[in-house]
Amino acid sequence: MTALTISPTATETPQPPRRNRQPMGRRVMRAVRRLPVWILVALLLIVVLYPQLWMVLGSFKTQAEFLSNPTWALPEALNFDNYIQAFTRGNVAVNYWNSLLVTIPSVAAIVLLGVAAGYALEVMIWKGRHGVLLFILAGIMVPGQMILVPLFTVYFRANLTDTLWPLIITYVVMGIPLTTFLMAAYFRAVPREMFEAATVDGSGPLRSFFIIGLPMMKNAILTVGLVQFFSVWNDLLIALTFTTRSELATIQVGLLSLSDEYGSTQYGPLFAAISINIIVLLIVFVFLNKKIMAGLAAGSVKG
């Protein structure tokens, strides 16, 4: 940055004609020197984008096109047959609905419980709160496999296995440690005077949480909520373990069985189903990418 602004003034002569020509030449020189960089960036983008593009394009191809045209060919027409087939035969609509039914309440509960716990552990002052925070933090380290068998037994005995409740409950429990920890960290960044001022004005401790604490965390809630949204929406392990019937399958479980069903014989409907999955996430990502990137990064460094 500094080098860029200093060098022209240091070497440039003030005569107008030369000044016009020289930056021009220099610009060309700079462009040539930057060429390897642009090639590198272009390669990088191709590597990242091409597989996704290939699949989305493939979702519009007919079976005949898959068999006769080269794999990098564009689809001949924009036909939506694969999408229709995925929705009707492949149960994609049911899977989507299940995923929504599971994800929305799970994320809402995780965030609400996490913010409240974070507030109680960071803003409220009591003996042993650091110990409790560490105790909750320890849960991040434990692999999900460790709790599957006991939970499966409990859900079975409680007659919950024919519902989506096992998924929701498990996601909430698995989401609490990281969310609580992140929320406590966000509350730590807020000056204490903010909370003190609220109590001076006469609001009770619980009221302060709802009136001051919760609204103040709007941004953090969105960020943490997005992180949890992606981890719940994308989960396979929990969904696979606790969905006993195909009518309860989430989108990821549905994709897996769809791929078993179609195998390598029919790509069209499979690609359509995957594309539907990807396109929704792409839309969310395009609008909220900064928050998502910040949230995921924070979650990993602190966790």
Binding site: Q145, V149, L151, T153, I176, Q252, S264, N277, L281, M293
Partner: protein, 293 residues
């Protein structure tokens, strides 16, 4: 003031539900699993106390040991690749693209938010052979070589799984390390430049040492998550061919839920947990002494 922030009722109302759920459905099951690992059987057949037999069985179980190998090899290679590629990208963002890196950063990050199942199925089709041949083999044919059936061998499946994992997560590690690199004070780099450090020298002697803490965090995080790999290897090739690429997580899942061996399944889960802890501590320890040197 202190009394308001120390209000017991408020603390219980706010913390209570989360803590209760956490203890009842996480801590208790962990202890339960730990206990189950000394039993054999399932809830229908009943349980029988077998002491440490399950652990003895584990170390004599070829399939189990193979799955440990798969998990560890995958975790080591995936971590090495993720962090290395991520770091190179981060250096590219900070020192070459500078302010213009926002778009590239975002585009390369995107695969991270995609479901692993979708990515695995995408890569499965991408390298496929036969009637619906994917672009990878088309390219190989284009250069005059025969198609390669990557998923027909354990090594091939592993290679595809690794490339896929790097592809999906390199942008994430790049952003993580990019943030770390931005924390290096501008003056430090400027003064190193004035002292004649440039290019690789600057990276080796100034940038890497200063970004060591974030590199360490990335290593631990990456290793911890790749050691638990499940979705990608299951969706890519079902842990196959045979069980050649079945990680410990998949072996545990199959033992517990397909063969209904709850006791032995719990033993495998316990070993997985111990493995995660041991490796995390090992990386932490070794890197810590290096930082202090």
């Amino acid at each position: 003031m202190k009394s308001v922030f120390g209000d017991r009722k408020t603390i219980i109302i706010l913390l209570g539900p989360a803590l209760l759920l956490y203890v009842l459905l996480k801590i208790v099951p962990v202890a339960w699993s730990l206990g189950l690992s000394f039993f054999e059987g399932n809830s229908l057949r009943g349980f029988e106390f077998v002491g440490v037999d399950n652990f003895v069985k584990f170390f004599n179980d070829g399939a189990a040991l193979q799955s440990v190998g798969v998990s560890v090899v995958f975790a080591v290679l995936a971590t090495a690749g993720q962090v290395t590629i991520g770091y190179l990208l981060a250096l590219l963002y900070v020192f070459v693209l500078r302010r213009g890196s926002a778009f590239v950063r975002t585009a390369v990050f995107f695969p991270m938010v995609l479901p692993t199942v979708a990515v695995a199925l995408l890569f499965k089709s991408f390298v496929s052979v036969g009637a619906n041949q994917g672009p990878v083999n088309d390219l190989i044919n284009f250069f005059g070589f025969d198609s390669v059936e990557f998923l027909a061998s354990g090594a091939g499946t592993m290679a595809v799984a690794l490339v896929m994992t790097w592809w999906g997560s390199m942008g994430f590690y790049a952003v993580l390390l990019f943030t770390g690199l931005l924390d290096i004070p501008e003056e430090v780099i400027e003064s190193a430049r004035l002292d004649g450090a440039n290019g690789l020298k600057l990276v080796r002697h100034i940038v890497i040492p200063l970004s060591l803490p974030i590199l360490l965090s990335s290593l631990i995080f990456s290793f911890n998550s790749t050691l638990k790999v499940f979705d990608s290897l299951l969706a890519l090739n079902g842990g196959g061919p045979g069980t050649q690429t079945a990680p410990l997580t998949l072996y545990m899942y199959r033992t517990a839920f397909e063969y209904a061996e709850y006791g032995y399944g719990s033993t495998i889960a316990v070993i997985l947990t111990v493995l995660c802890l041991v490796f995390t501590l090992a990386i932490f320890r070794s890197s810590r002494t290096k930082v202090e040197d």
